[in-house]
Symmetry: C2
């Protein structure tokens, strides 16, 4: 029986690694979702973002973020070491290229956590990535979450809520939307895992080339 | 915060019901997969196919199939009561329209089990359905499964294997491919469930209109 060679599953092969972008407004819970996926030992490579912001209590350098100085970050920009970088609320954030390339070259799926602008940049560079928009159940929930983490001032919170409102209108640029409802983190995580599992069964897999 | 109205999830609404077509070569295990999904009480409406073939030991009329006479089946064709029907290996098989419409009108997802020609027919009528191709792990496994069910003669088995070879080349008409590996039925079932779960998170849901 001849097999079409264009689908690896039919030949007993693994599908190509996926590049998964998890994005959404500030405060929606991107970090909580990613940390939960790591706790559950999902076999993805989580790209650690580099940032120039100060480390928060409980955060671990090289795990939560690569915490680097402003000077070091600017040197990395000069050396074109970032897939994507941005100045966000006065702090640098960026995705080191080497982490993404190394992981995909070894066949592992890569998960990126990006703000909505960052997701748009990656969409231009790698349109074959999977774009997931994490949304709050309601504007009130988003405000509560931002207030409760006590890491932003009232003015910063208001700025983030205003940005979040405009970001929600950009959901149409994404493939999937997942609601991160307060107290239902595992629902969001299992929906993201279903999306990743489903994408692996595509007749025409999305081949990412960076 | 304004919400885009085009995605129901952002407004706390359920996505529209899905029409899911599970297809693949004869003997690949479509019935086993569907029966397992029913055992696990997945909240789908399983459309019961009408057939003119004789009931097999262990089968239940109205559950496995609607077993009807050739005369009754031909009257239903005349009355345009089928979404899709075909003469397969000398027996009529068809999907009664009323079951699909009623289930979707009540908001339930509908799962159809169809051969590859039947899937192509539904694709013309309802291109927004989700098309899943169930494939054997190998041609040998397919032959073993057809032999073991002892319901076809050797000549019938050979005919089905020849058709299966050409059907595998039509996988490109489908959205997803799922391998039903001998002894790993639950892997296939969980992949199908992941596909359905993922499709519910689409930013632009696939609205089926029949």
């Amino acid at each position: 029986m001849d097999r079409p060679t264009h689908n690896p599953l039919l030949d007993g092969q693994a599908p190509p690694p996926l590049l998964i972008v998890i994005s959404g407004p500030s405060g929606v819970g991107k970090d909580s979702v990613l940390n939960r996926m790591r706790e559950l030992n999902f076999p993805f490579h989580f790209v650690v973002t580099a940032t120039s912001r100060a480390i928060r209590p409980g955060e671990v350098d090289g795990f939560d973020y690569h915490f680097v100085s402003v000077e070091r970050f600017e040197a990395m920009i000069q050396n074109e070491e970032f897939l994507e970088w941005a100045m966000v609320y006065g702090q640098y954030k960026g995705i080191p290229k080497f982490e993404v390339r190394e992981a995909m070259a070894s066949g592992r799926d890569v998960v990126l956590r990006l703000n909505v602008d960052g997701a748009a940049t990656v969409q231009r560079i790698a349109p074959e990535a999977i774009f997931i928009f994490l949304a709050p159940a309601s504007p009130d929930e988003l405000e509560r979450r931002l207030s409760n983490r006590h890491t932003e001032s009232r003015a910063e919170i208001d700025a983030r809520l205003a940005v979040a409102a405009s970001e929600l209108e950009r959901v149409g640029q994404f493939d999937y939307v997942v609601i991160n409802r307060e107290g239902h983190l595992d629902d969001a995580v299992s929906q993201i895992c279903a999306i990743i599992a489903a994408e692996k069964q595509r007749v025409f897999p999305r081949h990412v080339r960076l």
